[in-house]
């Protein structure tokens, strides 16, 4: 039985359809990468999976509970088993890094402060921030913030780890470091990992399966080998980095050429 099951999911904003009858199963222990261009609906799907928004129709079943139609207490219980690191890291600026990581432990467990301190140190050590716990988020680099967000997501030892664009805006070395961290977490804690990205190298490095989104629908779902070999035109366009509309691009350049000639720029 899949740990997450998305069924006929439809999401609309102000009458505009963002996700169109999506179906997806994610098995326990696998790393699923949601790949797609900007505006394809990846982050929207992710927000549905973590229960931050309600769909127009359809369901998202996490560990057997339909989170689109459950009580707030049940949703809270499910959220204890999901760790999320947002694209912007979203660490609380008024708290130090170690306070950020300690927050879910203080709020949801009855552990003694000394045990919480130890657990926080362990989580920070896993992501390589053990020496930076006292710093506030403003004092961290982009990569460190993202690792801090991963440490906070790991605080309650979740079964599912959700990462929204973990390598966006980072240099290739830091991004590669984050990829290795994801692989390490999966190997060590046997977690189900869902990663949203549009970085193909990263996606194919960490994924067990890849789901490719295009304009609110899956154009292809399969193992990374299947995706690489896919002949689906949308998948090929993405993998071969073909611009969206070559015809429109040439029309625009022709228009500018005509405009400049008319205004005597070529004289």
């Amino acid at each position: 039985m899949p740990i997450i099951s998305v069924r006929d999911l439809v999401v609309e904003y102000e009458g505009r359809r963002i996700l169109n009858k999506l179906n997806l199963d994610i098995e326990a222990g696998e790393t699923m990468v949601l790949l797609g261009g900007s505006g394809s609906g990846k982050s929207t799907l992710l927000r549905q999976i973590i229960g931050l928004e309600r769909p127009r129709s359809g369901s998202v079943i996490v560990k057997g509970v339909d989170i689109t139609n459950c009580s707030s207490s049940e949703l809270k219980r499910i959220r204890h088993s999901i760790g999320v690191a947002f694209q912007s890291a979203a660490l609380f600026n008024s708290l130090s890094v170690e306070e950020n990581v300690a927050l879910p432990l203080r709020e949801h467990t009855a552990l003694a402060p000394s045990i919480i301190d130890l657990m926080v140190w362990m989580k920070l050590a896993v992501v390589g921030l053990a020496d930076f716990g006292k710093l506030y988020p403003q004092a961290l680099s982009g990569g460190m913030k993202k690792r801090g967000a991963v440490a906070r997501a790991l605080a309650l030892d979740p079964e599912i780890l959700v990462l929204d664009e973990p390598s966006a805006g980072l240099d290739p070395i830091v991004a590669a470091g984050l990829d290795e961290l994801i692989l390490l977490l999966k190997r060590t804690f046997q977690m189900t990992v869902i990663v949203v990205t549009h970085e193909m190298a990263s996606a194919f490095h960490i994924a067990d399966r890849v789901a490719m989104l295009y304009q609110g629908s899956f154009s292809s779902v399969g193992t990374k080998e299947e995706i690489k070999a896919s002949q689906n035109p949308r998948v090929r366009q993405f993998l071969d980095r073909v611009p969206e509309d070559m015809a429109r691009a040439s029309a625009v350049s022709a228009y500018f050429e005509k405009y400049l000639k008319r205004n005597g720029a070529f004289q």
Binding site: R47, I50, G51, L52, K76, R77, R79, H80, I82, V84, F86, Q87, S88, A90, L91, F92, N93, L103, P104, R106, E107, H108, R152
Partner: protein, 267 residues
Amino acid sequence: MATVFEDVGKRAIEHLDYVGSLNIQLWSTLRAMKTALPLVGNRYRWQATVRQMLQIGYDALPMVSLMAACSGFILAMQGASELRRFGALSYVVDLVAVGFTRELGPLLTAIAVSGRSGSAFAAEIGTMKVTEELDSLRVLALEPIEFVLAPKYLAALICIPCLSIISNSFGIIAGGMFMFFSTRLAPLLYLRYVMESIALRDVITGLIKSLAFATIIAHVGSLEGFRVRGGPDSVGRSTTSAVVKSTFLVIVADAIFTTIFYFTGAR
């Protein structure tokens, strides 16, 4: 013509939506308030409440005191210039003492706190929304109303009445200084006249108003923050809107309370 009706209808719906949101937020906060209380509540929420009390109360003390002193001095001077013509200079004491206790003390305090803290609430919560910190709280199974708003509201409920009493004191002292310098009225005699002119009900009605103003300032400021959409520019707009709306609503509420107290004999 239809456009005018549509416009009026749309604005009416927007205002109703705003009032409805304020009500829902108020009741949700009242339900969550017990977590912010000392001893029976969550230790970390009470710590947050104390931090908020320092920001709303202690930091505002110089500003509120100076505003009250200036207003007390002005009120005594203006009152004296008119009452002297009728040989009723002694009524300046009543004017300042009753005017401040019932009206000016709570109102000036509310306007000062609305400018300082109402805008700060909107900016803080709005920034948390833009940087996905509120979403982070939700995925950590923490309610933003309980975590962010309850400590602010409790702190406002404690601090604003205290500031009002301090404001009353400074206003009355400034009035006494004017009376001393202009008529050589002895400070102790002035104090005796003050005690004779104000009744306990004047203090209580002033405090009731302060509690209502605290509710308006905390909830309007916070709602403006929660309603931020988009980027940092909308945070700026929300802070302006928080000050304008809360000041307006404080004055409207003051008029309503004064009318009720006037007709029920409590004045």
